[in-house]
Every structure is written in structure tokens, then in C-alpha cells.
């Protein structure tokens, strides 16, 4: 309720400076009153004006009065004035005639207004590359050549063909589908973009896999034409392997021609395979994996907010401060910073939030509102007095279901003392009326027979609270989505079903008990474990937000892996940054550094943790950040590592560059081998940073000593995003890149003190041997052994030892356990700038916990009937939140602060000891009996 959503709004101008901006806005007219619109869709059904539907990538039509998509927020219709017949010509007005809520307002006008804010976060997103101008892709000529975004809509269950893919030329199901990678990315021949768009390899694999899953019968084929497969994030490599296992063909080739098939249906693809043979294959459809570009409004936004852009029109940022734009007080996140995937966008979004508020701590809480709730009346011991409200939803329900019959029926049910039918049970005036009825009839249970609790339960619960009733004394029957909508052709059956649903809801209501929401205090400080870049950034950020921080580092020095890193993103030197970060951390009064010690024990839960260190110190804190880092693999037994001082890992070479023991001027021949210990059966993940690191090292040698021969032996070059430019620069500088496959690994020998490397050149198809006076091994990043710590804090580790996040995309910084967050290499290998982003994101997530003085926990938690418990351990083993543990007698005990009310324990227990408040077994059985009875 402290987010004011301003749709249809643009920024006109900005005044002021960081800490005090005045932003002038214009909101376009919606022509539909959002306070009145109930999203029944009647207007859209009767609207005669059809418009190309952008949401479905133009594959079908929408109406002039429309919603973007069924789940959008606000779920309110809007009239697109440009295509509205009434607004353009003064005729029609069908929508106003049919709207049951009188929500259409053709006289709506633009609204100009201004707001004052302390800072601004820009998140305008991306747009996809438009291939229509490029003759070579044949997108404009051949109907069955489509973009990946179009394919995404074809695959979508909510798309124009309900997820059953049909090709554009003749509406038949395509069986043989090819994807072409790097369309508009990794090239600048024809005004396309020279960076890598970061997401296309993975989305093409996804599209091919989903397609393969749906393909039944003979003749199906999915083929991906690619340059390098870039599967460089958590679980991505395994996903790539899964696609190959499913039979998706991964073809390393760049097709030279797309020709129309017979009668302009399908596509004939001409390409040269790896053996150099010209081939041609017929596909039913070709999907262009289009890259991502800066949004259309980038330039205008940059002008309005006075920020600098890079030459592709992305916001210009610094790797050590990745969410700050060139203007103080203006921050950026998501695709506008650089093309990126969803987890990184989400991390960056949180990072931008913490950066945006670091200078605004005095404003915290000054402009937020909290809802005031009257004390609930005590209904314990009262017989049920149930009120039933049957909604017509305009005509959404009442045109199918006989709502009067349902209401009359409800009156006959035991415990029901009041029944009414509403035109819109959810409307504002009805909420006021329901609250009055609750008070007047002293109702102690409320049933609403309307739509789905997913969207409307919170609203009705608020109404109960406002009327002084415990909000858990509420039940809902979904007679719209499960009734009138799905049984539109069977009004009698739908009415019968609605009676059943209401009878069940009333039966449930009789069993409802008021639930108490426990309130807990919050200790306003955090524990950060790990003093590398991620840990220090997190500690400093949390301290800047005004909270105390305990930073625990096992070693006596701070800095972690970054101490062994020369540069990041090619040119940005790490050492000066690290020194200034360490100085800031050591100098901040809010940070207590505990160096040279480790965590011995952690107890408690969100808001109230107690940690004991090995040094004996006891710390109290409300949140935890684990930034325990990663370790460079020592490649023992691989490529003769350890047999020659000049066979070195990345980190050793960087250290050598920095201390002068590796002098690029003295080198004549250097070989780098990639994927040393990564992407192997025992360690199937990509270490993400090694390709870029090697390119940086190779470039450093070439820049200092252009005559040195530098050879990079790789499997796929994964210089994702703008790192692609470093790869290009290295090729232009004369670095030789040669690819190998797992069945033709390079062979290293050390003879009389000389290193030789033999590899198969993929162009010549011949073995070559070179002498090297330095061999760089791009060895994997592995997880350190953090099992002990993980057990103490009940954190889950993946098979590979990485911390497991609550949700890989939407909660990439949170642990499943509330109040615990992760940052840096412990989550997954990542370059320094992404560790900084994730650490700043952790700051934001920690702040959402610590900025509360108290926390209210949901009342729907599990309880244990200890008389029935046998201490068999099933419940605490299945509990995903570690909320159940044995008490001193070995019986199960629920920690209500950790319980999320999922009900797994209640379902798993053999003796029926656990019960879930709000969803008790007796409640559910009562509903079942009511249904059968």
C-alpha cells in the first residue's frame, strides 16, 4: 500500500538534485474509471475495433478497449484512444452501453502532476532486435521465419494458439523447427549489435526443450544453429545437456541462406557443417533468436534525467558501482544496464533499491502509511452467526447461475443468520455495507460466494478487520471461475454446483477459529560472514542504511579472492578499488570487524538470531548474510599441473602479473587451456568467469608485447554481454582461438624443461604442437566446504556445494529460511561486478527485515498435538522451512516464527498429530462431508 502505481504515465521533466528531486509527470487518460471497473470484459467483447496485439507480438488482434493480459496489474480495462471509434469519430460507444459498472468515461483527460522524491530508479527494460530490415534473415519475405518472441507467444498457453504451436503460413503444426542464434548480436556488419545478448542461447534451448516435450508422433526435429553455446549460469550447463539428451540437434554452423519452401511454406536452410560440407535442410519453421537492445525510450530518458549512455544506448555504469548512473541520485537496474537474464535483473533491482536509499535514511518511514485496525471482538464460545454474500459480478455470475436461488438456499444452512445478494461484492460501497452488516447482525463468520480468493481474499479480510472481526473468520466460494465461467452452457448444473460450493464454505466457516498473529521484535543489526568483496560490500551497505553490522572473516586479512584478481571487465584495476573498500569498511563506526575467527553456533530465527563465535563473543542480530566465497580449483593431475613452474592457474598468473614475476615482455609463446575442471562429468557446471579472465590476460600480454604468440584453446567462448567486445579485441590483436572437444583434448608435455601443447586445429583438422613458455590453466571455481556453517544456519547446499536460493529467478539472494541472504561466489561463480550487485541486493533484502521494529507472523501455522505424537521424525524431515524440531522429550515442536503454513507435516504424519490452523483436518473433513451430504 506504499507503492503508488502510476500506469499510462510518462516523465515530462526533472528538477532538483539527489535527495530532493521534483519529477513532473503526465498520466494519459484511461477512459475507464479504475475504481469502478470490475474487469468483467463485457466492454471488450462488444468493442468492434480490432487492433494488432503487441502483447502477442502482433500475432493476433485485441480490441481498442483492452487489458494488456489476464494477470496484469491493475486488472482494469483501458481504451486505446487512437483506435477507439467513439473517441475518433464520435460513433459507437458500445462499451459504455454494456458496462455493468458504469465505468466508461469518454470525457477523461490527461492528468499533469508532480511528485517529490529523494532518488530515482530507472528500470525501463529492453526491446528485442527487429530483423525485418535484414534480407539475409528473410524475416520479411518468408512467413514461416519468425522471431523468438513470436515463438514464445505461440508456445504460451495464454498466447494466440493456446500453446499448440501453429505456423503462420498455413496454420498447420510445424514438426521440424530450426533456431538461428545471434540474430542482432555478436556482429556489427549491418547495424546489428557487437555485444552478446546474454539470454538467447538459454531461451533457444528452453524453446526447443519445451517443443520437444510437446512433440508427439513421428518426424519431429529441433535444431539449433549456433556459434558458441553460452550456458554460463547456475544449472544452465545441465539444462544444455538435458536438451541434447532429449535429441535437440546443436549444430555449430552459420546458415548462409534461407529460401522459401514450396508455395512459400516452410524454409530451406543452406549451411556448411563443421567438416566443411555444404548442406541444405528443409524446416517447417525457422525461429530467429533475436538479441536484446536498449529500450526505445532510452535516449529520451537519458535526456530527461541527464544521465550518460554508452554507445549502444544502455545506461553507462562502472563495474565497481554497477547500479549507479552518471548522475548522483539516479540508479539503474535490469536490461537497461546491460542485456541480462531474470535472476540478475532481480538482483540488480534489489541492489538499486539499497543504493537509492543509502543517502535517504532520515526519510525512512516519514511518508509511509500503516493501516489502522480496530481491536477484534472476542467471538470465542459464541455459536456461529454466519453471513453469506452472494455476488452477481455484474452479469458475470448471474447470467449463468441463479444467484437468488443460491442465496435462498444459503438461508437454509445451519448457522447462517444473514444472506444477501450483491451486484458486486467487491465494490467499495459494498465493503462499507458488509462491515455495517457484520456489526448490526453481530456476525462472527463471513462467507463470500464470488470469485477467487487468490485475488480477493485480502480485500474481504480487510473488511472483516475494519468491522472488528478476526480476519481468519472468513471463507470464500469461487462460483465464478469454477462456476459460471466454466459451466456457461449449463446454467442449471452451475447453479447446483454453486449451492454445493456455498454449503461447503458454510461448513468450513462453522469450523473456523480466530487466529492470533504473533508479533516479534527485531534486533536491528546484521551478521555478515565473509570478508571478501561481497561481504565487505554487504557490510558497508547495511551500515550505510543505519544498522549495526558484525563482519566475521576467518582470515586476519580482508579482501578474499579479489586480492588475486588483476582487473575486471578488461580494464578496471581491482587493487585500488579493494583498498578503498577495505578502508571504508574499517573506518565505518557501524561495522564491528571480527577477523581471524569463525562462527561456532547460530540459534534463533528472523529478527532474533543469536550467534556465538569461536572467539567466544556472542552476537545478537536480526539478519544474516553469507558471503563465504569460492575457491580456485588446484588442477592436480590435469595438463601436467605442478610439473613445471610455468604451468599456472589464472590466479597464479594474475598474481605474477601484479608482483612482476610474470613479465609479458619476456613471453614469446603463451597457451591458455579453458574449462579445466569445469563442464566435466564430475563437475558439470560452467565457472562463468574463466573465458573473460583468459581474454583479459591474453589481451594484457598482447597490449604489452604484440609480438608474443598467444593461443587460447577453448570449448565455447562464453564472453557474455559486453565482455564479447574483449573477445573481439583479442582476436583483432592476433590472439589465436582454437576450439577443442572433449574427445580431442589438448595434450601437454614437459620435455627437458620445455612445455609443449598438442591440439587439433578445427579448421585444418590436423594436430599441431606448440612450445609454450607459459601455460595458463583456466581452472574451475569450486565451493569451499561450508557444510558446518550450512548446518548451523539450516541452509541447503546444491550437489556442487553452492547455497540454494529460495527461488532461482525471483528470490536469487534469499535463503528459504527468512532473514538469511547470500552474496558472491558462495551462490555461484561470478565476476566481481556481479558479486558487488548481489551484495548490494543482500543489503536491500536485509533492510526489508531490519527496518521493521516488529514483525507480524501469519496465523496459519502448524500445531502439534503432543498426545498423538510418537516422535517418528517424519514431520521435521519433510518440513522445508526447518520449522519443526524435537523438544526435550523427543516430540515434535513447531517454531511458529519459521512455519509457513504449507501443511506438509499434517499430510505426512501417520498419527495425525500436526494440524494446520485455518486449514484444520476437521475443517477439511467438514467440507468433504458437506460436499457428499
Amino acid at each position: 500500500m506504499n507503492i503508488e502505481l502510476l500506469p499510462l504515465t510518462g516523465v515530462r521533466s526533472v528538477e532538483g538534485e539527489a535527495g530532493d528531486f521534483t519529477v513532473h509527470l503526465t498520466q494519459a487518460p484511461r477512459y475507464i474509471d479504475p475504481e469502478k471497473c470490475i474487469a468483467c470484459g463485457e466492454c471488450s467483447r462488444k468493442c468492434p475495433s480490432k487492433v494488432s496485439n503487441d502483447f502477442n507480438a502482433g500475432l493476433d488482434k485485441r480490441k481498442a478497449v483492452h487489458i494488456l493480459y489476464d494477470q496484469t496489474v491493475p486488472l482494469k480495462y483501458a481504451i486505446d484512444a487512437e483506435h477507439c471509434i467513439y473517441l475518433q469519430k464520435g460513433k459507437c460507444g458500445n462499451c459504455a452501453k454494456v458496462c455493468p459498472a458504469d465505468a466508461v468515461n469518454f470525457a477523461d483527460t490527461p492528468r499533469e502532476f508532480s511528485v517529490r522524491v529523494g532518488s530515482v530508479v530507472l528500470a525501463p527494460g529492453i526491446r528485442t532486435f527487429d530483423p525485418s530490415a535484414f534480407d539475409s534473415y528473410a524475416y520479411s519475405r518468408i512467413p514461416d521465419v519468425i522471431t523468438s518472441l513470436e515463438y514464445e507467444r505461440l508456445l504460451s498457453a495464454s498466447g494466440p494458439c493456446q500453446g499448440h504451436v501453429l505456423r503462420p503460413s498455413d496454420g498447420t503444426e510445424p514438426k521440424r523447427i530450426a533456431w538461428l542464434q545471434c540474430v542482432g548480436s555478436r556482429g556489427n556488419n549491418k547495424c546489428d549489435n557487437d555485444y552478446c545478448s546474454n539470454v538467447c542461447c538459454m531461451y533457444a534451448l528452453k524453446q526447443s526443450l519445451v517443443t520437444a516435450d510437446h512433440a508427439h508422433g513421428e518426424g519431429h526435429d529441433q535444431a539449433i544453429f549456433f556459434m558458441d553455446v553460452r550456458a554460463h549460469n547456475k544449472s544452465f550447463e545441465q539444462y544444455y545437456n538435458q536438451a541434447m539428451d532429449k535429441g535437440v540437434r546443436i549444430l555449430r554452423a552459420r546458415p548462409h541462406s534461407f529460401l522459401p519452401g514450396e508455395e512459400n511454406r516452410g524454409v530451406r536452410v543452406g549451411y556448411v557443417n563443421e567438416a566443411g560440407e555444404p548442406l541444405s535442410e528443409d524446416f517447417d519453421m525457422v525461429v530467429l533468436s533475436v538479441g536484446l537492445e536498449a529500450p526505445a525510450e532510452a535516449k529520451q530518458l537519458a535526456e530527461t534525467f541527464d544521465i550518460k549512455l554508452d554507445h549502444w544506448n544502455f545506461a553507462l555504469t562502472d563495474p565497481f558501482d554497477p547500479v549507479a548512473t552518471s548522475r548522483k541520485g539516479v540508479y539503474v537496474c535490469g536490461g537497461f544496464q546491460e542485456p541480462k537474464d531474470i535472476p540478475r535483473s532481480v538482483m540488480e533491482a534489489s541492489a538499486a533499491a539499497s543504493a537509492a536509499t543509502a543517502g535517504l535514511t532520515k526519510g525512512r518511514g516519514t511518508r509511509t502509511a500503516e493501516r489502522e485496525v480496530p481491536a477484534a471482538v472476542d467471538v470465542l464460545g459464541e455459536p456461529p452467526r454466519i453471513g453469506v454474500f452472494v455476488c452477481s459480478c455484474g452479469i458475470n455470475i448471474s447470467s449463468v447461475i441463479d444467484v437468488q436461488d443460491v442465496a435462498d438456499y444459503a438461508r437454509t444452512l445451519p448457522g447462517v443468520v444473514h444472506v444477501e445478494n450483491n451486484m458486486f461484492s467487491c465494490s467499495q460501497d459494498t465493503q462499507v455495507a458488509i462491515a455495517e452488516v457484520i456489526r448490526k447482525h453481530r456476525l462472527n463468520r463471513v462467507v463470500v460466494a464470488a470469485c477467487t480468493p487468490r485475488t480477493h481474499e485480502p480485500l474481504f479480510r480487510e473488511t472483516l478487520e475494519a468491522a472488528g472481526l478476526n480476519k481468519y473468520l472468513f471463507a470464500m466460494a469461487n462460483i465464478r471461475n469454477h462456476g459460471s465461467w466454466v459451466h456457461a452452457t449449463d446454467p442449471k448444473g452451475a447453479t447446483r454446483k454453486a449451492r454445493d460450493q456455498v454449503r461447503m464454505a458454510v461448513a468450513s466457516a462453522r469450523h473456523l477459529a480466530p487466529l492470533k498473529e504473533v508479533t516479534l521484535g527485531v534486533t536491528p543489526s546484521a551478521l555478515v560472514v565473509g570478508g571478501g568483496v561481497a561481504g565487505m560490500t554487504a557490510a558497508l551497505g547495511i551500515a550505510e542504511q543505519g544498522f549495526a553490522v558484525h563482519l566475521v572473516e576467518r582470515e586476519t586479512e580482508l579482501g578474499g579472492n579479489a586480492r588475486m584478481l588483476r582487473v575486471t571487465q578488461g580494464r578496471f584495476e581491482t587493487a585500488p578499488y579493494l583498498a578503498s573498500l577495505e578502508k571504508a569498511v574499517r573506518g565505518h563506526a557501524g561495522i564491528t570487524l571480527h577477523a581471524g575467527t569463525t562462527v561456532a553456533d547460530v540459534e534463533g530465527f528472523v529478527g532474533n538470531f543469536v550467534t556465538r563465535l569461536d572467539s567466544g563473543t556472542e552476537l545478537r542480530h536480526g539478519a544474516i548474510v553469507l558471503a563465504t566465497g569460492g575457491v580456485g580449483l588446484k588442477p592436480e593431475g590435469m595438463y601436467r599441473y605442478g610439473e613445471h613452474p610455468r604451468i599456472m592457474t589464472h590466479q597464479q598468473i594474475d598474481a605474477g602479473f601484479m608482483d612482476g614475476s610474470v613479465d609479458p615482455k619476456a613471453l614469446q609463446s603463451v597457451v591458455f587451456i579453458q574449462c579445466v575442471g569445469s563442464r566435466e562429468p564430475g563437475r558439470p557446471y560452467c565457472s562463468r568467469v574463466c573465458c573473460t579472465h583468459t581474454v583479459e590476460s591474453a589481451l594484457h600480454i598482447k597490449r604489452t608485447n604484440p609480438d608474443a604468440r598467444v593461443v587460447v584453446l577453448y570449448r565455447d567462448m562464453r564472453t557474455y554481454g559486453q565482455r564479447e567486445l574483449l573477445y573481439k579485441e583479442a582476436r583483432e590483436a592476433g590472439v589465436i582461438f582454437s576450439r577443442f572437444s572433449l574427445d580431442h583434448r589438448p595434450v601437454v608435455d614437459v620435455v627437458n624443461g620445455t612445455i609443449t601443447v598438442t591440439f587439433r586445429d578445427h579448421v585444418l583438422q590436423q594436430d599441431l604442437t606448440v612450445e609454450a613458455d607459459l601455460l595458463g590453466l583456466a581452472s574451475a571455481i569450486v565451493a569451499p566446504d561450508v557444510n558446518g556453517l550450512a548446518q548451523m544456519v539450516k541452509a541447503t547446499l546444491s550437489d556442487e556445494g553452492w547455497y540454494v536460493e529460495a527461488h532461482s529467478k525471483l528470490r536469487p539472494v534469499d535463503f528459504v529460511t527468512d532473514g538469511m541472504f547470500m552474496a558472491g561466489l558462495g551462490h555461484y561463480p561470478k565476476p566481481l561486478e556481479e558479486s558487488v550487485t548481489q551484495a548490494r541486493a543482500a543489503v536491500s533484502r536485509v533492510t526489508t527485515v531490519l527496518s521493521r521494529t516488529e514483525m507480524t507472523l501469519a496465523g496459519t501455522v502448524a500445531t502439534i498435538n503432543k498426545a498423538k505424537c510418537v516422535g517418528c521424525a517424519v514431520c521435521w524431515n519433510v518440513c522445508p522451512y526447518n520449522a519443526i524440531s524435537p523438544d526435550e522429550k523427543g516430540f515434535a515442536e513447531v517454531n511458529e516464527a519459521l512455519c509457513k503454513g504449507c501443511g506438509l507435516c499434517a499430510a505426512a504424519c501417520r498419527s495425525g498429530a500436526p494440524d494446520l490452523r485455518g486449514f484444520t483436518t476437521s475443517d477439511i473433513m467438514a467440507q468433504v462431508s458437506a460436499m457428499l451430504g
Partner: protein, 71 residues
């Protein structure tokens, strides 16, 4: 949002700019930023040029590597 919450919202011109942050863009990044900001004690103005929020992610059928629905 219903009237009960709206009535308590300070719609009058605010005294202190530092209590609020503006987020431009209602896709996955803008939404996450806005949620974090609001949960950290700041008033948020979430500006979106379309008629509803959701951005490009809402257009995706599924998301890798878990094949979850994007919505």
C-alpha cells in the same frame, strides 16, 4: 486498493522528499525494486507507460532453467 487504505495515505504535498523514491518501469526489475523500497520504509511511485505492469517477462511462456511459468 480500497478506501480504507487510501484514506490513511498522505496525499497532501509531502514535506520531505527523502521519504520517497520513484521507479520508472514496471517490468520484473522495476517491480522488485519497488517492493524492496516499500518494504524498507519508503513511499514508492511506480511509473509505467503502459496500462498495466508486467513487462517482457509476462510475455514469456516459460522460464529457464526450471521451466516455470513466467506469470
Amino acid at each position: 486498493m480500497n478506501a480504507a487504505t487510501k484514506a490513511t495515505r498522505p496525499d497532501a504535498p509531502p514535506a520531505d522528499a527523502s521519504g520517497a523514491v520513484m521507479v520508472v518501469g514496471g517490468g520484473i526489475a522495476g517491480m522488485q525494486s519497488a517492493i524492496d523500497l516499500a518494504n524498507s520504509g519508503f513511499k514508492v511511485y511506480l511509473v509505467e507507460h503502459k496500462s498495466g505492469i508486467g513487462g517482457v517477462m509476462a510475455q514469456l511462456a516459460k522460464t529457464y532453467p526450471t521451466n516455470d511459468c513466467a506469470l
